[in-house]
């Protein structure tokens, strides 16, 4: 028995571990997509807002305005899906997760305060007047808060995989001010995730440019009265957004090759070897992730040069989602391998609660139907309004 790994509860898991693991992957994917946009969008939005200050960059002003409106929605989605991911993570790895959380208690608790500030800030950004000084401060504070949140998350998620250091860390201080700074994996992991978020947002901006083509007048009307709004209402904005977003995607993805490689190299040798063929599942998921990322990269490059970038961009988006899914699976397998190496034995005591499980699945379907219906009626109504206005 490893001293730093708490004893399992004398309660069985309420479902087979594979089902909980599958739900963890699905809900984490649902979390990571909006979370990436929230982080990357807050960064790109701040940059756009800074550029728009002089009143000479109308496209940036329009982009900042759009991101400001989108941020509260994607943050709500990120938080909501994150709750479920955290639940299944705790069900599967609670013994490690609770322990690492206590070790970094104050930073971990500060996530709540930072999220509250960032979420409130995101709502504040949704209103007009992008040139106001206060709004600019908020626009800079939101990504700063989210970056710190991301860093703390990277700390906790990496520290929970190092049970061997738990006891010594706690005995040196139990006041909860630790971080996982000594872990060579921490920095590349954080940088890889952050840069990935920027890449996702870059592609989202390009897709928004594509989408705005079909509703140019809507954009014109919504941004009218703002600085540079008239220019944003032209086809020029959509072309610019496609080019600008693609540029961010390409640059971030290229940089992420470096961070990703660094992360792999920082892993223990046996895990690294596992990614190179010794562990088939791990090798396949990593290779799949890399191939899908390369595909997304190539398709975006094509889109930049194409007269009609729609097809390549949509293909790139699909590839990117597939790449993220593969990377999540890779991460999952690396986690298992690291924990196995650390002596962690998952508990196989299961007493499946079929009734509640089926109710959950039924309600999940119901919730999905309800959410899709509500979003659909809202979007359709919006289109109808645009058509009427036109």
């Amino acid at each position: 028995m490893i001293p730093g790994i708490p004893q399992a509860d004398p309660l069985p898991l309420p479902a087979p571990p594979w089902l909980l693991a599958a739900l963890l992957v699905v809900t984490f994917l649902l979390h990571v997509l909006p979370m990436n946009f929230a982080l990357g969008g807050s960064i790109m939005g701040a940059v756009a807002r800074l550029r728009a200050r002089d009143g000479l960059h109308p496209h940036h002003a329009a982009l900042a305005s759009w991101i400001g409106k989108a941020l509260p929605i994607v943050m709500a989605a990120a938080v909501t899906a994150g709750v479920a991911a955290l639940l299944f993570l705790q069900a599967l790895f609670g013994r490690l997760f609770f322990t690492s959380s206590v070790l970094i208690a104050w930073p971990w608790f500060s996530v709540v305060v930072l999220l509250l500030a960032a979420y409130g800030g995101a709502y504040a950004l949704g209103s007009p007047s992008p040139r106001s000084r206060e709004r600019l401060c908020v626009a800079l504070a939101v990504p700063a808060a989210l970056l710190v949140v991301g860093f703390i998350y990277s700390n906790n998620m990496s520290l929970m995989l190092r049970p061997a250091v738990f006891v010594a860390m706690y005995r040196s201080s139990g006041s909860g001010f630790h971080l996982n700074l000594a872990d060579p994996v921490l920095l590349p992991r954080f940088l890889h995730a952050t840069t990935g978020a920027i890449a996702v947002t870059g592609l989202s901006v390009a897709l928004y440019g594509l989408w705005s083509k079909s509703r140019v007048r809507g954009v014109f009307r919504e941004t009218e009265g703002h600085d540079g709004a008239s220019a944003a209402g032209t086809h020029g904005f959509s072309r610019w957004a496609i080019a600008w977003g693609s540029r961010w995607f390409v640059a971030a993805t290229a940089v992420n090759v470096v961070f990703g490689t660094w992360w792999l190299i920082a892993l223990p040798t046996e895990i690294l070897l596992g990614t190179m063929g010794e562990a088939l599942g791990l090798t396949l998921s990593l290779a799949g992730g890399i191939l899908f990322a390369i595909a997304a990269f190539g398709l975006v490059m094509m889109a930049v040069k194409a007269d009609s970038p729609g097809g390549p961009l949509i293909g790139a988006a699909g590839s990117l989602v597939a790449a993220i899914l593969m990377m999540i699976l890779t991460r999952d397998q690396i986690r298992k391998a690291l924990l196995e190496a650390a002596g962690y034995v998952p508990i196989a005591w299961t007493a499946t609660q079929w009734g509640p499980l089926l109710i959950f699945l039924g309600l999940l379907v119901g919730a999905t139907v309800a959410v899709v219906w509500m979003v659909r009626v809202l979007v359709k109504a919006r289109h109808r309004g645009d058509v009427q206005a036109a």
Binding site: Q7, I73, A84, L87, Q90, G94, F98, L116, G174, V377
Partner: protein, 585 residues
Amino acid sequence: MNYPIWELPGSGLLIAFVAVVHVVVSHFAVGGGLFLVLAERKARLEGDQELLGYVKRHSRFFILLTLVVGAITGVGIWFTVGLVHPQATSSLINAFVWAWAIEWTFFVTEIAAAMVYYHGWDRLLPRVHMRVGWIYFWSAWLSLVAISGILSFMLTPGGWLETRSFWQGLVNPTFLPTVAARTAVAVGLAGLYALVTVAWSGRPDTKARVARYAGLKWVVPMAVALPVTITWFLWAASGAGVPVSGVLGARADSIGALIQSLAAAPQTGHPIAHRAAQVVFAASLTSLLLTLFIALVRPRGFGPPLALAASLAAFIAIGAGEWVREDLRKPFVIGRYMFVNGVRVAEPPISVVPTAEVAGLVGSDRYTVRALTESGVLAASAWARTPPPGSAGVGRSRAEGEQVFKILCSSCHTVDGYVAMRPLVAGMSVGAIEHVVERLAVPVDAAAQPAAWAPRVEHRSWRGRRMPPFAGTPEERHALAVYLAILGGATPESVAAPPPEGGDVGKQYFEENCSSCHDPGGDMAIRPKGRTAETFYEVLGRLPSINELMPAFEGTDDLRRALAAHLAGLSEPDAPGAVAKESSR
């Protein structure tokens, strides 16, 4: 113990702070949703554009408060309980993954509906908009229902204790009254928030209309429903074995006795809970009276201060109410399953013991009272900073005792702050403290005889305090006593000194075993009233028959005679404290 302890003095208060903020906002998220959709319906049916405009403006406040503060503080509670009570949180996750997951589906729907409702004011057809509003309300309320199941489980786990059945745990004895009471709170709060948002309105007509509607149709009915549902809750809790009347200082579990206790000064061992109950009553009444004043006397002219005061009084009532609920649960964090310090009451029932193969992986539970008493709490805790092997004597005991205190006591007690230990042990000897610690909680059977710890077993607490039992070895109990005695003012030298040769063994025995209750300066000081040593000798042989809380005298006959002589020799105090002076000579 099993998990490291976040060394944050009074960490429970952090949970209380985050929880109260979340409770206030999340209940509003439920009731406010109902208010929005019904107020919108009323405005549309009556063609009241002013009211409709108000509802729309109110919905912005609503969405900001519920989505931003409500959602994040909800996550915040989870973070906080995981940090402060990882052992209990882990148990709740394992037992109720699907309850949380079910609640999550409602949460997702609720958040999406809130956003669509807010953004749909000018886009959706009225009937579609209201349909979204209804989806919001029902999903928010069902979320409340799911969480109520888990919260009430923590107080009254019901048949789950024996069966580990999901449904028996969730639909437990206090589940329905909890749902009813929380629904009433949610609806009442919605009315109060409406008063707050309309208080800023410059339109007296709108103000008056909303004030009457929210005050008389939302707040007042709930002011009637709430006492009924709370009484139902207390009755159900009492029926499930929660010592409601004892905690709230009532003579019986009847409504009359409980109401009577609200007017009395705290006379039980739980003054904080008693005071909190009084605050619930006083603050609720204040909120109701202010609402009536607004709705009936100043509907057109009331301003934000009055509306905010009514809401603030309600917040205070809710905070105090949650405090009472938490206090009713003590000394457990999960009723009759786990004590507040993470020690489990007993091993799992036979019916849910894992197969031999799995048992090999899980191992026998190392964190029950019995297991810890056998193994020692320090040995069972990888996190304890035990003194180096070479150390010995008082220094070692004190260091070990400090660790034991941290592991077993610090979830409630601080040294000098909240529920401080230092004043509780001031001037006490090691022996006296050991005596108290040994008797913090003793399981007893139907005949009031000592029994083994089991989920349904009753227990006798020291002086009626609801404390968990000491779960450790006798050596650890002694170490804890040494640490606490020094904390209370004893010097390491005096703690280390052996009893004086030829000293008064009766006096020494009294100080170590009796003085913790019969402190000569206290309200239970021994008054000899002329009784002889022989009389005291006889009385010492039947202590439990005098008072069931008194342990039987277990010393030798010589010791009994010495103690009797000491008691007979005590002078009759004229006033409390006189005996203390006498006996210290």
